[in-house]
Amino acid sequence: MALFIEDNAPVIVQGMTGHQGMTHTGRMLNAGTHIVGGVNPRKAGQEVTFHIDETDKDLNIPVYATCSEAKEATGAKASVIFVPPRFAKSAMLEAIEADIELIVVITEGIPVADTAYCVELALQKGIRIIGPNCPGLLKLPESADASDKGINLGIIPDGIVSSGPLGLVSKSGTLTYQLMGELADIGFTACLGVGGDPIVGTTLVEALQQFEADDNTKAVMMIGEIGGNAEQDAAAWAKEHMSKPVVAYIAGFTAPEGKQMGHAGAIVSGGKGTAQDKKNALEEAGIPVGKTPGQAAQLLREIVNGGTPQA
């Protein structure tokens, strides 16, 4: 079974014609992602032109009215959603109804009740949502074949890392990039941002399950932050089921009680969801927790190859 999704899967972008959608569709295409269409009912039938640097050629991507139509025409297996918060629920529902296998929701600011509804519906239909409020999924090429470009779904920058034995899962975008940079000498199978909202479609536990089942992944870096119990749940699951080493980093030890720290889900309330509680739970489950991102990277490097940075 492929880790999350197969590398060359056809992908559509909901909200492709907006500013963010245009920018990142261009980026994803240049990273080698097989984008086959956009969705926007008001621009259906049009085409959007993107420049591909590698071949120095223009590529025209058609716009469809609905996800179902796009899927019928292209066989799309994944969708990346960039639409504004107030339209996000109907965008997610449309993708679920079209039986898109993997839905990556980048949008920040979606009401949690909308997310809860869509996530539950997706779970019942066996569809995976990643996010919302996340940087998405970057898969590095599984094979050495030059035609395998991996897959880049969302906004994770291309070119920081190459293929290697590590999996990365994170609640935070920039900390994902930070740790990718720190561990670029070893390389990754996949880097996944699960998102910073109180309810997300793929939890830390579900990401660990994927990495545990993937033959190419040998060890996992997990990045958490204050709020909720996802890290504690992950610690409990890993203790029982995980055969591969996991190293963690947690952000927010200095966050004050009752203040939302940027992400909608990053809040300590009623003394619950503190970084210290998470660290304790992880360490009790045998998962080392780095004090800084750099230290966490070093802990994982020691486990994987004895601690020497690779050339």
Binding site: P85, R86, G109, I110, P111, V112, A113, A116, Y117, V119, E120, L121, L123, Q124, P135, I155, I156, P157, I160, S170, K171, S172, G173, T174, L175, T176, Y177, Q178, G181, G196, P198, I199, E225, I226, G227, G228, N229, A230, D233, Y249, A251, G252, F253, T254, A255, P256, E257, G258, K259, M261, G262, H263, A264, A266, G270, A275, K291, T292, P293, G294
Partner: protein, 397 residues
């Protein structure tokens, strides 16, 4: 957004849940007027966004107007667990026969909604829940389903509401659910949900929400124009207000090092690094704020951010930590210089760039040749340097 009790009561009343008659008041003159209207004895309750205010002396019973005024003069200037009291609720005193606890909340782990209830409500509910977890009943509601009268009745029966109360309790639970759904709440808690009335007269007994806590989902504000009435103008932090006007995520803290970065996680991590450095250096220096410039920030956003942070008199040094993904470090560098030009600021700024256009950004800073700008190649080193520079009378090279 956490509501004050007097605001939470409004939302419950709109659903038809009984609450004692109450009036919000912000000075002793208003309190005297309100107390006369409510009648005596009445309760004077601090309106503050934190729990356990009773133990802190924030709730007092008044037998007459003099006592009401005296109590309000004690309560109004209070700060309870770091939260300023915004006013008092003057409410009818009720004859309480029994106290229940009921809440509906978002369950992040099971990704659904939780109805929690116990027959042992009141101020000790947390301790009782710890000692007798079996007394707390929990019901999960799937995000695809509704909470109906049958489920509400079953829940009411399982809690152990006295037999005659089951119908009323089920009615309250249903109304709470409607309040939760209609208002995009993440928490609706009534504690205590009290049985009140004359112990000898069955017909006077009923359930009444004596205290309530409601949290609303800020992300849903776009579909609730009526939330404007809950805006708290009296106790907003000026810096937080200014940042909000510019669409920035800012949290004011109590330390000396201003922290600016891109992405909530990286900024939280930067705060931890500054605190850690302050501890290691023995100075106890701490972060002064959290400020996330977001993804793809322009030079203008960076410049605005830096001027907000530098306008805070408690800030002694600033740590700018950017890992360029969508954000380009050269834009950030231009923003830093623009702010410094405009403000003529002399406080030291330690910059760490990595990722997108980091080299270009560092070159822009180097070319500017500003003695107040320091550059570090890792976030750990940068945090340590910013912490050292925030110590009065200390300089580093």
């Amino acid at each position: 957004m956490d509501l004050y009790e007097y605001q939470a009561r409004q939302l419950l009343e709109e659903q038809g849940i009984d609450t004692p008659h109450g009036i919000f008041a912000q000075n002793s003159h208003e309190v005297a007027e309100a107390a006369d209207k409510i009648g005596y004895p009445c309760v004077i309750k601090a309106q503050v966004r934190t729990g356990h205010r009773g133990q802190a002396g924030g709730v007092k019973l008044a037998k007459d107007q003099d006592e009401a005024i005296l109590s309000s003069e004690q309560i109004l200037p209070m700060t309870i667990r770091g939260h300023k009291v915004s006013g008092v609720l003057v409410a009818e005193a009720k004859n309480v026969l029994h106290e229940y606890y009921v809440s509906i909340s978002l369950d992040r782990s099971s990704r659904d909604f939780d109805v929690l209830a116990t027959a042992n409500g009141g101020t000790e509910v947390e301790e009782i829940a710890k000692e007798h977890p079996e007394s707390v009943k929990r019901l999960h509601i799937s995000a695809l389903e509704d909470f109906d009268i049958e489920a509400a009745r079953k829940m009411a029966e399982s809690i152990g509401f006295y037999h005659a109360d089951v119908d009323q309790a089920a009615d309250v639970l249903l109304k709470m659910w409607k309040c939760f759904k209609d208002n995009d709440a993440t928490l609706v808690e009534i504690n205590p949900l009290a049985k009140i009335g004359d112990p000898d007269d069955e017909s006077t007994k009923k359930l009444c929400a004596l205290d309530a806590k409601i949290s609303l989902d800020d992300n849903a504000a776009f579909r609730h124009d009526d939330w404007k009435r809950f805006a708290d103008t009296s106790h907003t932090d000026l810096f937080e207000e200014r940042a909000k006007q510019h669409g920035l995520h800012y949290v004011h803290l109590k330390g000396e090092v201003g922290v600016i970065g891109n992405g909530a996680g990286l900024v939280m991590s930067s705060l931890d690094a500054v605190s850690g450095a302050g501890e290691e250096q023995g100075s106890g220096v701490k972060p002064a704020n959290f400020l996330d410039i977001g993804g793809g920030a322009s030079a203008e956003v960076m410049s605005t951010s830096l001027s907000i942070v530098l306008s805070d008199p408690q800030v002694e040094s600033v740590f700018v930590n950017v890992y360029g993904g969508i954000t380009a470090c050269d834009e950030v560098a231009r923003g830093i210089l623009a702010a410094l030009d405009e403000l003529n600021a002399s406080k030291p700024i330690v910059v760490r760039f990595d990722g997108n256009a980091a080299q270009e950004g560092l070159k822009i800073l180097k070319d500017a040749d500003n003695p107040n700008i320091h550059v570090s190649d890792t976030m750990e080193k940068a945090a340590a340097q910013a912490a050292r520079l925030a110590e009065p009378g200390k300089e580093t090279n």
